[in-house]
């Protein structure tokens, strides 16, 4: 049987940042997140302990009965990577809009100008997209884009290759060419905590090969990128993600977004989605 919205795992905090008990929202309901002794806890408003998983530097919980373990990112475990806790930023938009934006490359020249893209290098070549039934994930591969400064450690423009992966409805992982280590992929994620259907807390996290940058520099780079997106995300109308075709107009460059929307619909994940054209 398919998982209900409640049965998924959601990020609710940085393991390194759990000091005082923090009240927050998950799917519109109040929860408390904190540390007791050596362990960590998440409680719902009734004081009931919710299940927890500590992974990727974050604490995860689920208000329902998860039928599956939280996904893994095997690549991130290879030695020599810097694991970067980027922190969180709150955004007034649907959690699904935040994920969809993360899967999009066509906005790079206009929103991340001179960093992840620049005119006139705006063309998005055809890439591969599929919904992998066996793992129930959306994947896009062979995504290529010209980038003036692909990473904090990059010098000069390069054609970057990406792979995108949606392992859970409010999480996305990207793998991108890694300038200092040809043949390896940097891992950058976007974990989204749905506060409500139109408000979310976004926790980016990274596992990078980078011996040159300080931790603060890598955090700063990713916060810069995400905050450039925030002013877009807060100004899309409607705030929820339309799942039915007709309200918005995709092109070939949007194949990942189209597959993501189709997959959400197929698995019945409608929290933060707009179903009928308003």
């Amino acid at each position: 049987m398919r998982e209900a919205v409640d049965d998924h795992w959601y990020p609710v905090g940085l393991l390194s940042g759990l000091e005082d008990t923090r009240k927050t929202l998950l799917l519109g309901r109040e929860i408390a997140v904190g540390r007791n002794g050596a362990g960590v806890f998440v409680r719902d408003a009734a004081g009931r302990a919710l299940p927890t998983v500590a992974r990727f530097g974050h604490l995860w919980t689920s208000p329902g009965q998860p039928t599956r373990d939280l996904f893994t990112i095997p690549e991130a475990d290879t030695p020599g990577r810097q694991l970067v806790d980027v922190g969180s930023v709150r955004v007034k938009c649907s959690p699904l809009r935040a994920v969809e934006n993360f899967l999009d490359i066509a906005h790079f020249p206009f929103v991340h100008t001179d960093i992840l893209g620049a005119e006139p290098h705006t063309e998005v070549e055809r890439y591969q997209v599929d919904i992998r039934e066996e793992v129930d994930e959306v994947w896009a591969t062979e995504v290529k884009f010209f980038q003036p400064q692909a990473a904090r450690s990059a010098e000069g423009g390069i054609k970057t290759e990406y792979m995108y992966r949606v392992p859970a409805p409010t999480c996305a992982v990207l793998y991108k060419t890694c300038p200092p280590r040809p043949g390896e992929w940097d891992v950058i994620t976007l974990f989204v905590q749905p506060l409500t259907e139109e408000w979310c807390e976004v926790w980016p996290w990274m596992a990078l090969y980078d011996d040159q940058s300080t931790m603060a520099e890598m955090v700063s780079f990713q916060q810069m990128i995400f905050m450039q997106d925030r002013s877009i995300l807060e100004n899309q109308i409607p705030r929820k993600l339309p799942l039915d075709p007709g309200m918005e107009v995709p092109t070939q460059a949007d194949m990942t977004s189209v597959a993501y929307r189709r997959w959400l619909k197929r698995i019945g994940y409608t929290y933060g989605a707009q179903l009928v054209a308003a």
Partner: protein, 203 residues
């Protein structure tokens, strides 16, 4: 000259922007303000016991207020100075209202959000009223025909008001003033303040 810097800080951006407009080289040292609270680390507290950013270090000199840093950077460029004292205090007030709303909305800082937003609207109305009068006199900047540190101090927090849920839609003179600043040669952006793509030629 070293700026201890946080990319999302409007106060640090005042300094980065001023240096860029003056063409002064500036070395930035990223401080992990969020999530690691590095501005309160022992090393940073030794430099600035207040535990705030920006901090500018030039040889033995250490400055910890954006207003004094702007004065310092423009000490030899009288063009960038004018009747700016009142506007430097105004910038601090903006930081207290709109700046606080922004930290609340982005980084979940504690704040009486309705109160700081209301105060922010009052500040924007004052700013708009002043700029309306400047424009009647044919001037677009806060204190004259050319920008001064007054403009650079007030611009960042103002431009980032929407980050804190305070709209700029209803202030036509503020919008044109911001546009004039964004059009200055050497202007640099920060996250939340996009560049004027129209200034670049269409491909």
């Amino acid at each position: 000259m070293i700026l201890y810097d946080y990319i999302l800080s409007a106060s640090c951006y005042q300094v980065r922007l001023m240096a860029a407009l003056l063409g002064q080289p500036l070395t930035t040292r990223a401080v992990n303000f969020h999530p690691a609270k590095e501005h309160k680390s022992p090393e940073m507290l030794k430099l600035n016991p207040k535990g705030t950013l920006p901090v500018l270090q030039d040889g033995d000199l250490v400055l910890t207020e954006s207003a004094e840093i702007l004065r310092y950077l423009t000490r030899d460029t009288p063009d960038w100075r004018g009747q700016d004292e009142v506007w430097l205090s105004f910038a601090a007030a903006l930081n207290g209202s709109i700046g606080t709303a922004r930290l609340h909305d982005i980084l979940s800082y504690d704040a009486d959000i309705d109160a700081v937003r209301r105060a922010g609207v009052q500040h924007l109305r004052q700013l708009e009223a002043h700029l309306v009068e400047q424009r009647f006199d044919g001037m677009i900047f806060l204190t004259g025909h050319t920008p001064t540190i007054a403009d650079i101090a007030c611009f960042p927090t103002t431009a980032l008001a929407p980050d804190g849920g305070v709209s700029l839609d209803v202030y036509p003179s503020i919008r044109l003033w911001m546009r004039a600043i964004r059009s200055l040669p050497g202007f640099i952006e920060m996250p939340g303040i996009h560049r004027l793509h129209e200034l670049e030629a269409a491909p």
